[in-house]
């Protein structure tokens, strides 16, 4: 019987974190921004496999990293919310509960499994002006180790998130219309290079003014029209 080598917990966690960061940095970043009528999520994604998805009436999901892992997280989110909405009421399905559940699950994998998840997610919830106490938008980011943070105005995930946030801190304005928010978001994603073409963009909105399900996927033509 061979005796396993001793590895200090600090070293183990550091190695796992480096591994996860490397995996996540391979993909393109995603950004979510509040605009005057809701939240818009933008991703550079030329493929037909989407990174942004509908979770529930007012909730949307975005994931970066390994597709199989964040898409699994998306499906888990849909199941989690649909079961909650069925057992309680549609208004009881909130971003905070989902983000917490993601944080728990992703954190558990990080500490207990050999390989951490190479994925990071955004949970976005658009406010409803008719529900007292639920008027505000919320944006949560859950990282590969389960750490969770909430954001005002905008929220980014992915390898280039630091540059993204520096750019947005300077250029993002609260309460701007959809077109401006999209242009700022795309400029941030382009990361100083030439602007990402409309047909390489995935754009979804949570539009406060839609009845019922607020999530909507924009067509390539709509994105092109906004970018001009």
């Amino acid at each position: 019987m061979s005796i396993p080598f001793y590895v200090s917990p600090e070293q183990l966690m550091q190695d796992k974190a480096d591994f996860a960061r490397k995996g996540i940095a391979r993909g393109k970043s995603i950004v979510a921004l509040e605009y005057d009528k809701g939240i818009v999520l933008l991703a550079e994604n030329p493929s037909s496999l989407s990174k942004i998805g509908e979770i529930y009436d007012r909730l949307a999901f975005a994931g970066v990293g390994k597709f199989s892992e964040f898409d699994q997280l998306r499906k888990i989110g849909v199941r989690f919310c649909d079961v909650r909405g069925y057992a309680y009421s549609r208004e009881d399905v909130r971003a905070k509960a989902l983000a917490n559940a993601y944080s728990q699950a992703i954190g558990d994998v990080f500490t207990q499994q050999m390989k951490p998840l190479e994925a990071e997610v955004i949970v976005a919830e658009v406010g409803d002006p008719h529900l007292l106490g639920q008027e505000q938008n919320t944006l949560y980011r859950v990282q590969f180790d389960g750490s969770i943070s909430d954001h005002r105005g905008f929220c980014g995930i992915g390898g280039t998130v630091e540059q993204l946030e520096i750019y947005l801190k300077e250029h993002y304005r609260a309460g701007q219309p959809l077109g401006d928010a999209v242009r700022v978001g795309v400029a941030a994603l382009s990361n100083g290079g030439s602007r990402i073409a409309a047909d390489r963009l995935e754009m979804c909105t949570l539009d406060r003014e839609r009845p019922g399900r607020k999530f909507r996927r924009a067509s390539a033509d709509e994105v092109a029209a906004i970018l001009g």
Partner: protein, 268 residues
């Protein structure tokens, strides 16, 4: 609970069965319930669906009865299930409403998990499975007999299906009615139905059919002018499901259906 779920498919109904059996509608149906205890539950009655020029129409009265008593005067029996389909329910109100709600969640769940909606036939088939799952409850008296209708965007036409208590699914080419007043409603529609009925005519024919059913069947609710309760009518066309406004229903009813101004024996 989040990551430990066993179920990996796209059906909400099956998700409950596998991972949340305590929430599944059939959870209690397996226990033998004394059938006599179930006689007093509310029942909903006449609903109908018919194809028309632009797609398909669905309508239902508003009354629910408990034996000879009124359980509810303004029950909703026609439910949109997604952007291009709807269901009408007749039978034991509790399980029927639950089934309509479950179908709506099921279709939405599939759409979200898979990234695209089911075809209309797939939706109709899904409902079939739910009716079949209700069979044990139906054997004890809680019968649910829905009608499903929608607009088939691939074939560009309105389609409708009726069901039997075992989950049998039968597509109807013209019209269908379900519930205690359905016999009278069907007879009424038969006289006036054509495949090319325009919107106004289809609305008139459906209101007339419900009025005829309410006239002959005591468990079907007629228009209640005193309380302002009218039937619910929905159209499903290429543009999606649209509920007809109460004002339009009231106007059509007063102009074409109401017979209160023809006094018998008043000489004209």
């Amino acid at each position: 609970m989040l990551i430990r779920g066993k179920y990996q498919g796209a059906s909400f109904f099956e998700l409950l069965e596998v991972d949340f059996p305590h929430l599944h509608p059939a959870a209690n149906a397996r226990d033998r319930v004394d059938a006599s205890a179930l006689q007093g539950v509310p029942h909903g009655t006449t609903v109908l669906a018919m194809r028309c020029a632009e797609g398909v129409l669905m309508a239902g009265d508003r009354l629910a009865t408990e034996g000879h008593r009124v359980a509810s005067r303004d029950l909703q029996k026609v439910y949109p299930t997604d952007a291009h389909s709807m269901v009408a329910i007749a039978g034991a109100a509790g399980p029927a409403i639950e089934m309509a709600r479950m179908l709506r969640i099921e279709l939405e769940h599939y759409e979200k998990i898979e990234g695209e909606a089911l075809e209309l036939e797939g939706k109709a088939n899904k409902l079939s499975q739910m009716v079949r799952a209700n069979l044990p409850a139906a054997m004890q008296g809680l019968v649910v007999v829905p009608i499903f209708a929608g607009y088939d965007r691939r074939r560009r036409l309105g389609r409708l299906w009726k069901y039997d208590v075992t989950g049998g699914r039968y597509e109807e080419a013209e019209f269908e009615s379900s519930g205690s007043g359905s016999l009278y409603a069907r007879e009424s529609i038969k006289k006036a139905w054509r495949s090319d009925l325009g919107r106004d005519d289809a609305l008139r024919v459906s209101l007339q059919a419900l009025a005829d059913a309410a006239d002959e069947d005591r468990a079907t609710g007629g228009v209640d002018l005193a309380r302002g309760i009218f039937p619910i009518v929905c159209f499903c066309t290429e543009a999606g499901v649209e509920e007809v406004t109460r004002e339009e229903i009231e106007r059509t009813y007063r102009e074409h259906v109401a017979i209160a101004h023809h006094h018998v024996g008043s000489g004209g």
